[in-house]
Amino acid sequence: MSRFTRRQLLSAGLGTAAMGLLSGCATPGIRSVNTAPVLAPAASGEKITLTYWCWLKDAQKVADIWNASHPQVQVEVVWIPGGNAGGYQKLYSALAAGGGPDLAQVEMRSLPEFMLVNGLVDVARYGAQDYAHLYDQTLWGQVSFSGGVYGIPQDSGPMAMFYQPAVLDQVGGTNPGTWDEWAALARELRKKDVYLDCFPLGDASVFTAFAAQAGASWLRPEEDGWVINMTDDATMKVARFFDQAIDEDLVQTAFGAYSPGWFAAAAKGTIASVVSGSWGDALIEGVSGGSGKWRVAPMPTWDGSGFGSSYLGGSTAAILANSKHPREALEFAVWMTTSREGIDAEITNSGIGWSPSPDFIGTPRQAPSEFFGGQSYHQEIFVPAARQQNEDWSWWPVTQQSFNILSDGFRKKASGTSLVDSVAAAEQQIMTVFRNKGLSIRKEAS
């Protein structure tokens, strides 16, 4: 008797077909584009179209200015959700499927993560170093890794303190110069049932920026692998400071800045200020009835040590691995971020963050602001803030996971785990994550 049934034959056939399909389904991102030969520029007379995925508002209008003067290299913008809110997920899956745009908006801190899945073109191979002098050196340092350049800085967020003078005046206070003065002011304001600021337990990026300001440099690449040090004096000082601030109920922890609850509190005057990146101005302008009530002051400093400011946020235009025209994409990215027309168009259409070009902050930012009581805060506050940065800071390949590990620890503050302990525990967990990815890491010898 035959033991072969139709069903078996069918499944055997399907199985073979499935194996064929599966062989194309190896874990994505394990081939590097940067060892392949450099791609030639498009032949003259050939018309090409680049795609740029970003979450900037109306970025197509910026690209249209470029398109008008570059008929051979047209840029088409596709909007994606911001960063980890869905944009990266889209980019990663497009890369995994062997596709994706020519350019994409990628935050500074996320570049190494995209490098880890071989998602980025090393644009140093296409002459990016020739443009290095046009950019802020701290930012250029954050896109350069082991001799390569993996993104073109597009915007950044030098930090300062946005505050409501009238609210501080209730206790006769002014903007604090140091964090200790900040804490004293917060203590006074609590008596009036006002919080000076929030401390976001659910978003570690703010804590990270504070630590960088204090002089920390958590991870750095070395010849033999990564070196981690999250328990240095600077970080521990910041952690202890906010441990005490939370214990004394000096900061609001129920919601973070720019959340619906925050806007309601800021409008009511029960939140007095926010220490945030320069891009916070556009958000603060959304506080209802806030016009004329806000001012900008320099970020409080760690009393003599550390730096005057820090970077919170900041993104790049990165050239993605599957681009067929990296050279032209690089030219567009440089035009967009350094030319006067590019920077101005990005500000007026997209409300982009701080210009990465130290030579030009953008025409609209040179005028005094009506919302901020006629203060020319861009010139006064942010130009100096952008110069007082921690140049040693470098991002690492598991930034998002590290932030999640940190904030998962911070959330336990409510049940009594101190930030100091959370940071120390996070360091251990981050080392495990590195090792699980097969990357070598060691703790800095103290």
């Binding site: 008797m1 035959s2 033991r3 072969f4 049934t5 139709r6 069903r7 034959l9 399907l14 499935a18 399909l21 599966l22 389904c25 190896a26 874990t27 991102g29 394990i30 081939r31 590097s32 940067n34 980890n84 990266y88 990663y92 899956s93 995994a96 190494p112 993560e113 490098m115 880890l116 899945v117 071989n118 890794f145 082991s146 337990l201 659910g202 978003d203 690449p221 692998g225 990564w226 129920a254 919601f255 973070g256 959340s259 619906p260 609850g261 309601a264 509190a265 009511k268 390949p397 598991v398 998002q400 996971q401 999640n404 904030s407 998962d408 959330r411 049940s415 699980n436 990815k437 097969g438």
Partner: protein, 321 residues
């Protein structure tokens, strides 16, 4: 071993049919036995391509590991068989295990509450004294028509202090609720889920109630049974299959909770990126780019859903026999 001989084919395989009627021309033709397959082909092709194959790939991926050398893997990346190490890594991740525990707690409370609520609603709407049952049926069902994401956004405005009128009402009676705190946000999510799905489950039960033959009600009436008695002795036993079905769906749905937590995250700092098992797998895959561990997590979630559903079915079957 002639797999293609017509005799071997007849009566074997899934397309087995009764022998051809006499008077018809000889053996069944190939066309007749091919027909069902041809008709099934569009379904099967899509089913295999979009369902069977992805599952297969996910399982395969969960047994693969990528190792890198150099700072960013620039000095070489290789993909190799990993055994159960991804599973070990997933289970060693406290946040992932905690998310499963959290969903178990959620399910133990929310599923019974919802099933009880929808059963009561269905019985009331199907009782003889119900007023405008059509209107109320539609009204209770309406929330199901609101997509989970929209429902969560709607509710989030009711949960946020300073925006929600609920806080003003609570203040009148001297309460200061915290809907988004570390210990309460889970129940705020449960509330959204209950609001969304009670009407849907109610409709399944109503359908089963409508299938109860009228004679049973008449007989009960003749015997002088009260409404209570009818509900307890006739309706409840006869809608048991619908109750089992809705409970199993709810158990599976609980483990797959995703949209509500993901959306509420923007207003609730207490929700982390691994709050529910699916959110955890999503984060691992698309924020951490660890597709292999994410695949292992996905398989674990599926296994957990299977185990729980079958345990519940076994439990109800044992009770009925």
């Amino acid at each position: 071993m002639t797999a293609t001989s017509p005799t071997a084919r007849t009566g074997r395989g899934p397309s087995a049919q009764p022998p051809a009627r006499p008077g018809k021309r000889g053996d069944r033709t190939g066309a007749a036995s091919r027909a069902p397959w041809l008709l099934l082909a569009p379904f099967l092709a899509l089913f295999i391509l979009t369902f069977v194959l992805p599952i297969f790939v996910a399982v395969l991926s969960s047994f693969t590991k990528v190792t890198r050398s150099g700072l960013f893997g620039e000095a070489g990346v290789k993909s190799e068989f990993a055994g159960f190490s991804n599973y070990a890594q997933a289970l060693a991740d406290g946040s992932f295990v905690a998310s499963i525990g959290r969903m178990l707690l959620f399910g133990v409370v929310q599923v019974p509450v919802m099933i009880l609520l929808c059963t009561v609603l269905a019985l009331m709407l199907e009782s003889a004294s119900a007023k405008w049952p059509g209107f109320f049926r539609a009204a209770y069902f309406l929330p199901y028509g609101v997509p989970g994401v929209i429902a969560t956004i709607l509710w989030s405005f009711l949960y946020v202090p300073g925006l929600s009128p609920l806080f003003d009402v609570a203040a009148l009676v001297g309460l200061t609720p915290d809907f988004l705190g570390a210990n309460t946000v889970l129940w705020s999510i449960a509330n959204i889920v209950t609001w969304s799905y009670t009407g849907y489950n109610m409709l399944i039960i109503v359908a089963q109630l409508k299938a109860i033959p009228g004679e049973l009600y008449e007989a009960a009436k003749v015997d002088g049974a009260s409404t209570w008695r009818v509900a307890l002795s006739i309706q409840l036993p006869l809608i048991r299959p619908a109750l089992v079905l809705t409970t199993v769906f709810s158990i599976i749905g609980t483990l797959q909770l995703f949209a509500e937590a993901q959306v509420l995250k923007t207003v609730a700092p207490a929700i982390d990126s691994q709050y529910t098992p699916n959110l955890s797998a999503y984060t691992t895959a698309f924020a951490y780019n660890d597709y292999n561990v994410a695949a292992a997590q996905a398989v674990l979630i599926a296994v957990a859903a299977f185990v729980l559903s079958f345990a519940f079915l076994k439990f109800t079957n044992r009770k009925s026999s």
